[in-house]
């Protein structure tokens, strides 16, 4: 009944006034000073990636591909430590010296083998001379040659074995860093006995870190591998690249893990930090204007284009909303200047303060 009444009445009231509703919206004249006083700010319409920015909580983790451990290949005793926890080391920098009896034995054997080889060499050279003068028979020369070759082989084998342990400095084994990074763990003190079953140092490169985000299910569906994200934390921002999207949903938080690989050249990110991860999805370029630039006038969405001294109200067609922005199908063009704040005042100029907002 009321609807009927309303209809009948609307006809009565609006009967003679139809023209007003078809009128073009008029321009709004306004001086620059007025803009300033009312706090109306202008901005140039630009194309921006139209994807929604998904923002999620995240934690920084180490990149296992860039972690290094330092082990002693032989049993022994630590005689010297070159680095301590927290130090930055380059690849190949010495980190420790190890004394090992095994190594000492080996060196002794090597010395012996060397003497043996040199002796054999001398015999071989003399026999060679003698044989050429046909003083001795070939058999004897041949035997001494064999002897020498064997001694040389033994020596080289020992030398090779020694070299396999690494750099040798005197009787000590010099351990070098396998990669560049920070010494994040030190499990050894001077004089301690170590062996291949014991990690001495852990070295980690922070140049590239992994950022694990927890995206809610809906957002996770929009995220693809290879998308560019942004790690937001208190000291700044870093870009990152999504390289993994979790295959299961966390029971408690009902969120999906997202991994984003972030370059960390200045080392502002640190593993274990709680940060925010922003990922822009669906990044095709489109015209985006802030929601604050648009007013609802008699059921139409209207933006205000600055024409120098006046605003031209323009109806805009909105494709969708993205995170505080409208994606505009048509209405404003790139390069135009529009009001992005205080637009409620422009609406008032257009329709007065009594704009009712009802739709019928």
């Amino acid at each position: 009944m009321r609807v009927l009444l309303l209809l009948v009445f609307s006809l009565l009231v609006l009967g003679g006034e139809k023209h007003e509703h078809h009128e073009e919206m008029q321009e709004i004249h306004m001086t620059e000073e007025a803009l300033r006083e009312l706090g109306i700010k202008l901005d140039v319409v630009k194309k921006r990636p139209a994807g929604k920015v998904v923002r999620m909580p995240a934690e920084v983790r180490e990149n296992p591909l860039l972690s290094f451990s330092v082990y002693s290949p032989i049993e022994g005793i630590v005689r010297k430590i070159y680095v301590k926890e927290g130090d930055f080391v380059k690849k190949g920098d010495p980190v420790a010296e190890i004394y090992s009896p095994e190594l000492a034995d080996l060196i002794g054997e090597l010395e012996m083998a060397k003497v043996k080889m040199e002796t054999a060499k001398k015999i071989y050279e003399r026999d060679k001379e003698l044989y050429s003068q046909e003083v001795i028979p070939y058999t004897r020369f041949y035997n001494s040659m064999i002897e020498y070759e064997r001694a040389k082989g033994e020596y080289l084998a020992l030398k090779e074995r020694l070299r396999s342990f690494g750099d040798i400095k005197g009787y000590h084994l010099l351990l070098r860093s396998p990669g560049t990074g920070y010494v994040v763990e030190q499990n050894v003190v001077l004089g301690e006995g170590v062996g291949p079953d014991r990690e001495l140092f852990k070295i980690h490169s922070h140049d590239v870190l992994w950022v694990y985000g927890w995206a809610d299910e809906r957002s996770a569906r929009m995220i693809r591998e290879g998308m560019i994200g942004r790690v937001v934390h208190e000291t700044g921002n870093q870009t990152c690249r999504v390289d993994f999207i979790g295959h299961e949903v966390d029971r408690k938080t009902r969120r999906v893990r997202i991994r984003c690989v972030a370059n960390n050249p200045k080392h502002t990110l640190k593993p274990g930090m709680f940060v925010s991860l922003e990922i822009r999805t669906g990044g095709e370029m489109a015209i985006l204007i802030p929601k604050s630039a648009v007013q609802d006038i008699e059921g139409k969405k209207v933006a205000f284009v600055w024409k120098g001294g006046k605003f031209e109200p323009r109806e805009v067609h909105i494709e969708r909303e993205v995170d505080g922005y409208y994606v505009i199908e048509e209405g404003v063009r790139e390069g135009e200047r529009i009001a992005v704040s205080g637009t409620v005042f422009l609406k008032t100029k257009l329709v007065g303060v009594e704009e009712t907002g009802h739709t019928h």
Binding site: T31, P57, D216, K252, V353, T356, H360
Partner: protein, 1028 residues
């Protein structure tokens, strides 16, 4: 009696000194006010409902309150306004109800209302003040840069200034604008998710870890110890250290500091601000208690402000901006000026006409004595000296000498004629001769003013005091003429050489010739007068109507409505822009604005701004001559502003609001049920109103279009996880509604702790949905999980009167009288709008009072004229003579109307009172003349001779009374100062009326009397009044 007076003349003289002394004392002690306060008996009930929309406020709060107060005894009207976050119900009681009784009645019913209102909302009664209670405005501002507005408000105003001003007698309340200190806990939703913390956890932790308990006493070896449980937080660090939850995985506690920042900021969701000269300050309105004298309260508060300045920290200034006493002082000074210059003029005229210095001095001395006597009566009956009461005295100044003039004149004449006679008996005889006509004259004036006492409402509160003081003073003047004056004449008056002065002799000669002429041209003259009378009646139809002329208050208020969705920051910008523009005029002393409302303030939201523009005195205006012109200039200058703008004045605005609930000249209310339909009709009404000539500042109150953030609980989810809607709304209350979670104690001050979401979440609905609020069954649920959050337009304000909703269109009228404007408007609206059944339109504003007053007068005035006739008849015992005297009524009407027409004033209540006054004064002229003619006839004179002689002999008293009354009003007409506006139409009518009625009495009445006497001979045996 007169014999006794003369016999104990020394005693009388001593009494005179006593009266003078007491009179002066009374005058100095007389409470001074600008206006009689027209506020009806009214009790307001406010209910703060943070977070509720207008619709909910109406349904949940306003209607329950209305329903309990509706049935109260003597309730005449219940008005209500429901705004987002505030319900306001105003209960109007019958005039004359004791306001404390009314408050009790409402108080008794409030518990009933409380039961029907959801928990947590507490209806409270508004300050016991009046519509004109906003007596004084002051601001606190900091010049050193050390104090923020928050500190000024929460520390200095709240704890230092307020208690001191509240202690001033008569101060009921201080309405305080400005931000308040709060400790804001700003959670980081991302960190919350990371730590697995929900808003519910956070709220719980903050609430439960901030308590203070008393532990009684504890006996120990150290003695009897008081046990105190000190679980209260005292600093930001304390809050940060509050544990929220134990993280079971990691086995560590998560503290508030891990998931939130704590900052000192302001209480969110503020609904108002106070700006001055372009920046925000901490502003306050001192509200006076009902029945208190404004000026006294203001003076005391002003003194207090000076004292407070001394104790304020360095750099903090307390500044007084505006008070109503300013107007009072101006207005009363104006009226006093009129009073004294009137006295002076009357004195001069009397001296000239009497031609005897001593006689004149005696007559004039009666004036101050009369006024002093009136002050004594006023003081002892509790009346205050204000525009109306003092105005009454100013208007009557010429009449108050009449009694004395008649008596002194008669004594003087007798003394001069009966030289050498015993002074005592001469004086006694002279008084006996005239005391009855004097008494009779006063009686007539009293009766003639009686219709004013049938006024009610504002017109009654305004004009009854005027009539009352006038009557009091008139009666005093008569008593003085009967007591002190004879004694004074006995001591000081000496017989003159001649009875008549030179001036009088000239007048007599000229008058004699005029009389001859009038007898000769009797018929044409009478015909002319008749035509003139009808012509004047015709003129009357061309004169507009209004309630009363606007008082010039010396300041302008710009009322600004903005779109209902503006932010406080945006509104402040507009206020600033207006202030700056106004300050460009050299006539502007200062500007300041109130944006929205303070705690217990107005029923408005932040889209409403009142900018005050305080002007220099009118004499210093250069850029514009009148306030209307100034308004017009401003109207054009502000045209660019995105706002709907209206103009008014501080006190006028309040009075308009009292009358119609609206701060404009005219309020058009469209009653009905469906808000949308109401809105449409209102729109149409607005369009029509704009087309009516004279309409300015047409505004339709915004009722809808307020964007709302609506939270619809997702019932399925709630059900599954066993969450109640209350739990959801509870979280909303704390996280969005800004409800206080606890308090932080700093020294002895307590400051609220409030949860405040970070800006990026508050401003973005999508983000809001991501905030974790509950943990149930090991799952974290976000806002978006448990509720749909949408932004939709809703209602902005819902007004109701006697339980019916209404929409409002308001406008001011300029360049035209309100009466005819309203008539045209009503006709047009009736013609052009067909209302659905159950819908109706009413019109409110001062014109209502005008119409009601006129309606009352249209009955009361004829009655009083009839009463005069009866009195005349009793006096003369002759219908014929009574009728002839009554002829003066139309004579006076001619002059009154013509004067009104020429001056351009409208037919207002004051001008109507002017007509009433001249009816009386004019009749008296006739009485004086006719009585004497009858006396001469009895003496045996022939009719023609009697008429002539009487006219010649009586011209002096007639002229003196007429001219004194006339001249006494001249200052009121000439003065342009604040406060003279109201009395001007009255004075105009009286001056015009006296002019014609006196001239016609002197010229035509003798001729008419002679004619009538011959045509309707009547033998009357009863002796007439005047015997001698």
């Amino acid at each position: 009696m007169f014999r006794l007076v003369l016999k104990f003349r020394l005693l009388v003289l001593i009494a005179l000194v006593g009266v003078v002394v007491y009179g002066v004392y009374s005058f100095r002690k007389l409470p001074i006010d600008a206006f009689p306060d027209p506020t009806p008996v009214q009790v307001n009930v406010y209910t703060e409902a943070p977070g509720l929309s207008a619709e909910e406020v109406e349904t949940l709060i306003t209607i329950p309150i209305e329903s309990v107060v509706n049935g109260l005894k003597d309730v005449e009207l219940v008005r209500s306004v429901s705004l987002p976050g505030l319900s306001y119900v105003s209960v109007f009681f019958k005039d004359g109800t004791d306001v404390y009784f009314a408050r009790r009645l409402v108080m008794e019913k409030l518990p009933d209302a409380r039961e029907r209102i959801p928990e947590g909302f507490n209806p409270v009664m508004g300050p016991n003040s009046t519509g004109l209670g906003n007596a004084l405005l002051y601001v606190l501002h900091d010049t050193s840069g050390k104090y923020t507005n928050e500190e000024l408000k929460s520390v200095i105003q709240q704890w230092m200034v307020r208690p001191l001003i509240m202690s001033v007698g008569g101060v009921e309340e201080i309405v305080q604008f400005g931000p308040e200190i709060a400790y804001l806990v700003v959670p980081d939703p991302n960190k919350m998710i990371a730590y697995g913390i929900t808003l519910e956890d956070l709220i719980e932790a903050l609430r439960k870890n901030n308590v203070l308990v008393g532990g009684g006493f504890f006996q120990s070896a150290e003695g009897d110890l008081v046990v105190r449980g000190l679980g209260r937080v005292y600093s930001i660090e304390d809050i940060l250290r509050i544990p929220v939850k134990v993280d079971e995985e990691k086995g560590v506690s998560v503290y508030v500091g891990d998931v939130a920042r704590v900052v000192r900021g302001e209480v969110p969701n503020r609904r108002g601000a106070f700006t001055m000269d372009g920046r925000e300050v901490q502003g306050n309105v001192v509200v006076k208690r009902i029945y208190e004298n404004t000026k006294e309260v203001v003076d005391k508060v002003k003194k207090k402000l000076k004292e407070i300045q001394e104790i304020l920290p360095e750099g903090v200034k307390i500044e007084h901006l505006y008070d109503q006493a300013y107007l009072t002082e101006k207005a009363v000074a104006t009226i006093q000026k009129a009073l004294f210059s009137g006295m002076l003029l009357v004195a001069i005229v009397t001296a000239i006409l009497l031609g005897n210095l001593r006689a004149s001095l005696i007559v004039i001395s009666s004036l101050p004595i009369t006024l002093l006597t009136a002050f004594i009566v006023m003081k002892n009956t509790g009346m205050s000296g204000n525009l109306m009461t003092l105005g009454g005295l100013a208007i009557g100044i010429g009449m108050f000498v009449d009694s004395s003039v008649v008596i002194v004149e008669n004594i003087y004449r007798h003394l001069s004629e009966r030289r050498g006679a015993f002074k005592f008996s001469v004086i006694l005889d002279s008084i006996k001769e005239v005391w009855r006509p004097v008494f009779f004259a006063v009686l007539i004036i009293v009766i003639v003013f009686s219709p004013i006492f049938v006024f009610e409402s504002i017109e009654g509160k305004y004009f009854k005091p005027l009539a009352l003081t006038l009557i009091i003073a008139l009666i005093s003047s008569m008593l003085i003429a009967f007591t002190f004056i004879p004694v004074l004449t006995y001591y000081f008056l000496k017989p003159g050489k001649t009875t008549y002065s030179k001036v009088m002799q000239v007048i007599h000669r000229v008058y004699g010739r005029v009389l001859d002429l009038s007898f000769k041209l009797r018929v044409p003259i009478i015909a002319t007068v008749v035509v003139a009378f009808f012509f004047s009646l015709f003129l009357l139809t061309r004169i507009g109507t209004e309630f009363a002329p606007e008082l010039e208050e010396g300041s302008v208020i710009v009322k600004v409505f903005l779109d209902p969705n503006v932010s406080l920051e945006e509104a402040k910008r507009v206020a600033t822009a207006i202030e700056k523009e106004a300050l460009k005029f050299p006539e502007v002393v200062r500007t300041f604005s109130t944006v929205g409302r303070a705690e217990k303030g107005e029923v408005v939201d932040i889209n409403y701004i009142e900018t005050w523009i305080i002007l220099k005195p009118q004499s210093e205006w250069r850029s514009f001559k009148t306030r209307e012109e100034f308004n017009q200039i401003l109207r054009e200058r502000f045209a660019w502003l995105p706002a709907s703008i209206g103009f008014t004045q501080p006190i006028k605005m309040r009075i308009d609001e009292l009358l119609s609930g609206v701060r404009a000249d005219i309020a058009i209310k469209i009653f009905g049920q469906d808000p949308q339909l109401l809105n449409q009709i209102a729109e149409k009404v607005k369009e029509i109103t704009e087309k009516v000539p004279g309409a300015v500042d047409v505004q339709k109150e915004i009722q809808a279009g307020r964007l709302q953030l609506r939270v619809y609980p997702k019932w399925e989810t709630l059900e599954r996880f066993g969450i109640t809607a209350e739990e959801v709304l509870n979280v909303i209350k704390y996280s969005l509604g800004g409800a206080e979670i606890g308090v932080l104690q700093r020294d002895t001050y307590l400051f609220p702790i409030i949860l405040s979401l970070p800006e990026e979440f508050r401003g973005n609905v999508e983000r809001l949905k991501e905030i974790p609020i509950f943990e149930r069954d090991g799952k974290i649920l976000t806002f978006g999980d448990v509720a749909d959050i949408r932004v939709e337009p809703g209602l902005f304000v819902i007004r109701r009167e006697n339980n019916i909703r209404y929409a409002l269109v308001m406008c001011n009228v300029e360049g035209r009288d309100i009466g005819s404007f309203v008539k045209e408007l009503q006709e047009r609206i009736q013609r052009e709008i067909k209302l659905p059944k159950g819908y109706f339109i009413t019109y409110g504003g001062q014109f209502e009072n005008q119409q009601r007053a006129m309606k009352r007068l249209s009955v009361a005035v004829p009655v009083s004229i009839f009463l005069i006739f009866v009195l005349l008849y009793l006096n003369f015992n002759s219908v014929r003579d009574a009728l002839v005297v009554m002829l003066n009524v139309p004579f006076a009407v001619i002059g009154g109307i013509v004067a009104l027409y020429i001056s351009g004033f409208n037919l207002s209540v004051p001008s109507a009172i002017g007509f009433i006054a001249i009816f009386g004064i004019a009749t008296l002229n006739g009485v004086v003349l006719v009585s004497y003619i009858r006396y001469l006839l009895e003496e045996g004179y022939d009719i023609s001779e009697a008429v002539r002689k009487a006219a010649i002999l009586r011209i002096r008293p007639i002229l003196i009374t007429a001219i004194t009354t006339f001249i006494g009003l001249i200052p009121l007409l000439v003065i342009r100062d604040i406060g003279s506006e109201v009395q001007k139409p009255l004075a105009t009518v009286v001056v015009g009326g006296i002019l014609t009625s006196t001239l016609l009495t002197l010229i035509i009445l003798p001729a008419v009397y002679e004619m009538v006497y011959k045509r309707f001979p009547e033998r009357v045996e009863v002796p007439s009044v005047e015997r001698a």
